[in-house]
């Protein structure tokens, strides 16, 4: 039986990347773009992507259908770990559809990502960017 942490890392490679993963692109607040994985520079940076959900507004009782992209990445695959400290803006590009060849749309990471440091993943919540007037 191997080291438990190594086993977890292997599981993350399977669940967040590999067949479940979709190619994503991260751009740091400094303008540095990451398209490839730190674990395998020949492979695109991959993440598990979820696209939408139904959210209830408890004050009005209204259901709001929102596109709620959430991505989960393996920390060891990242060059720089996003923290969103001091209001930093990270640009995230994800495919429009759950398909590797799908065109990408640009988003901004909207809140402090959940680290999952014990397990080794990071979760980022995204909001759409539109061209300002």
């Amino acid at each position: 039986m191997g080291d438990l942490r190594e086993l977890i890392e292997g599981d993350l490679a399977e669940t967040l990347e590999s067949d479940f993963g979709l190619p994503v692109i991260l751009t740091s607040p400094a303008g540095v773009v990451q398209t490839k994985s730190e674990n395998n520079p020949t492979q695109d940076l991959q993440a598990q992507v979820h696209f939408d959900s139904l959210v209830l507004d408890p004050n009005t009782g209204l259901d709001i259908v929102v596109d709620k992209p959430v991505i989960s990445l393996r920390r060891t695959s990242l060059t720089t770990i996003p923290t969103l400290e001091d209001g930093q803006n990270w640009k995230v590009e994800i495919p429009d559809l759950p398909k590797e060849s799908s065109p990408k749309t640009t988003f901004r990471a909207s809140r402090v990502p959940e680290h999952g440091r014990s397990i080794g993943f990071i979760r980022m919540y995204l909001e759409a960017i539109e061209q300002s007037a």
């Binding site: 009005t60 709001i64 259908v65 929102v66 640009k91 909001e127």
Partner: protein
Amino acid sequence: MNFRILNASIINLLGAAQGSDWRTIGYQKQAQGADKIKNGNRTVQVFYSGGIYPKSAGSLNGYTMHDMTFSLDLTVAKACTGDLATLDNPGSTALQLQTALANLKIAVHGADESLNELKELIYQEIMKGTNQNLGLSVPVANRWVDEFNKDPLQTRGELAVLTGSMKLTARMDEQMIGEVGVPLMVFDTNIEQDGDVIGRAGIYQEHDIVVEDTTGDIVLDPVSGNYLEAA
């Protein structure tokens, strides 16, 4: 009843004034797509939410005063805005990307500003002097926006969605719908007394009668009211 008439009038009033600034909905809407209410498609949902009928200001059999309450639910959705052209350009330098990222206006900021603006527009329209009767040609008393509450941001997603609620009150009278009464029957009475030869001793009130005085004829004595044989 007048609360329905006034409800429709408020909807028409806001609908006529919306332009491209908002959309007026005349009922409580269920699930709606956040992207459908983005920017200028933000919504104002108008509906009658309740009322009070003060017993001291009404009648058990006639009209009664109705203190109406209308809810105006405001909903906005905004995305983060920025220099997308630079961000999406594969040829942008690191410095250009850094500048564009630093100048992004986040979605919650835009949503907060949008809701404040919408609230101001609706309030001004409802409360301006020419709308004292809220679009009706009959008087509406005590038109007043009592309060406005902005809800905490609950949704986190691609778009920031923010809601608020405005309470509008007004007073009008409500008439009861009743049955039309049955018309009374009118009885024409004439009482005839025994010995009354010509049946004149009834309830009729007549003016003085001038009868030609002819001997042997029966004449009316204006003093006694009796008929006497003329001398």
